[in-house]
Amino acid sequence: MLSVLGLGALGTLFGSHVQAGISGLLNSVHANGLASVLPGGGQFTIYTVTNGYPAAPADYRLRVGGLVERPLSLSLGDLQSLPATHLTRDFQCVTGWVVSGVHWVGVRLSDLADHAGVQPSARAFRFTSFDGVYTESLTLEQARQTGAIVAYSMLGAPITREHGGPVRLYVPDMFGYKAIKWLSGIELVTQAPPGYWEQNGYPVNAWISGQPPAAPKV
């Protein structure tokens, strides 16, 4: 029994390295069927806070409003016609799991805000999801620092329903819960209200390293 306890403690301290090894092994033998069932394949654990994964409405629009000069109502096609940003970054969950090298395509949040014309009193974004529950927020400064994107492609394909399609946020250098799924509303507000997960115990400081990266991103 003590040996089981010891193994458990060792696993907690060094498990992340073993985990990386197992992910590599499973990938190298192309055990995709198996890897999707066994823990350690380095895949997403795909959360939803409502009754299942919500389906996008047929007439999906992304609305940008609040403290802006020109409120926007964008279809997926409208969004895709804007200048695109490509990113390949790790997706890090606050609870520990990580998916490395995820490819994203989307429109920079800051660019989208400029497009709508930010009023001087605006300081933050408030995001809403068409699941009706999930909310998130970022300050204008955080949006610039992270280079956050409003993403419509992930893992080399249109974002699937489980992963928050058709449109979700991706915030580099911040924990995964910031990357709100099923994004349908972006509102410019005077201060960042805590989002769904922050209200449910996740830290308001979502920087993976605890603080913004040293050099601001260009």
């Binding site: 029994m1 003590l2 040996s3 089981v4 306890l5 193994l7 458990g8 403690a9 696993g11 907690t12 301290l13 060094f14 498990g15 992340s16 073993v18 985990q19 069932v37 066994l38 823990p39 350690g40 654990t45 795909i46 959360y47 939803t48 806070v49 409502t50 009754n51 299942g52 994964y53 890090q92 606050v94 609870t95 520990g96 799991w97 990580v98 489980e162 449910n200 830290p203 993976i208």
Partner: protein
């Protein structure tokens, strides 16, 4: 005391119809409470992890809460079952789990020899109330359960811990869960293969014949003093 008094864990002399008490009411209650909590933990755990099940169940916060409280409650039946006067049979059985006899080692050797084809039939050393497989299972469940409790707590109250520990705890918690399911599937299969042993987890008793076949040294033990 009547002739059918069953407050001790073994009373062969006083048993009626050649039955021996294998598990008293407290032990059976602890077992079934554990089993229920375990089922809840496996069900909710799966509904937090597998995409198709998440799609079916959703409601992550609620499922997390149920999983958390079922996990925190898991040690309680055993701890309550051990306490006080009513815990005597369980305490005695846990003592038995922790003692290894020559016969146990012989049984394990026999198992290895049979599995590797070196011997045709299994040896039948005079085992006590629990065979080595049951003893190993008990050690695994106790140790593994505490590890699940520890890693689960770390994952719930993760903020003081570095990210690599959280990743490690996720790794241990998930893989150990897989191992637990395998071990419990084995446990249930073995129980279904021996209906008399299974019935004793409901009614408490086995026949003297069963005890003589599976646990002869148990029958030789001095009677538990009241």
């Amino acid at each position: 005391m009547s002739a059918t008094q069953v407050s001790t864990d073994r009373a062969p002399e006083s048993s009626s119809r050649g039955l021996v008490l294998r598990f008293d009411g407290v032990e059976r209650a602890v077992h079934w409470l554990n089993a229920s909590l375990f089922l809840i933990l496996v069900g909710t755990g799966a509904a937090l992890y597998f995409t198709p099940l998440i799609a079916l169940v959703g409601r992550r916060r609620l499922v997390e809460e149920i999983h958390l409280y079922a996990g925190l409650a898991l040690p309680l039946p055993v701890l309550l079952g051990l306490a006080g006067r009513w815990g005597r049979a369980l305490r005695r059985d846990i003592g038995r789990f922790n003692r290894w006899s020559e016969a146990d080692l012989e049984w394990l050797h026999g198992l290895v020899d049979t599995a590797s084809g070196r011997r045709r039939s299994a040896v039948r050393p005079a085992l006590g109330k629990f065979n080595p497989g049951q003893k190993l299972n008990a050690a695994f469940v106790a140790g593994g359960g505490l590890v699940m409790l520890g890693t689960g707590s770390l994952l719930r109250w993760y903020e003081p811990f570095p990210l690599s520990w959280r990743a490690g705890a996720t790794f241990v918690h998930n893989w150990l869960a897989v191992l637990f399911v395998l071990v419990i599937v084995g446990h249930i299969s073995l129980a279904l293969a021996d209906r008399e042993a299974l019935r004793s987890m409901f009614g408490g008793r086995v026949s003297r014949g069963w005890a003589a076949r599976h646990a002869p040294a148990w029958l030789e033990e001095p009677a538990d003093r009241p």
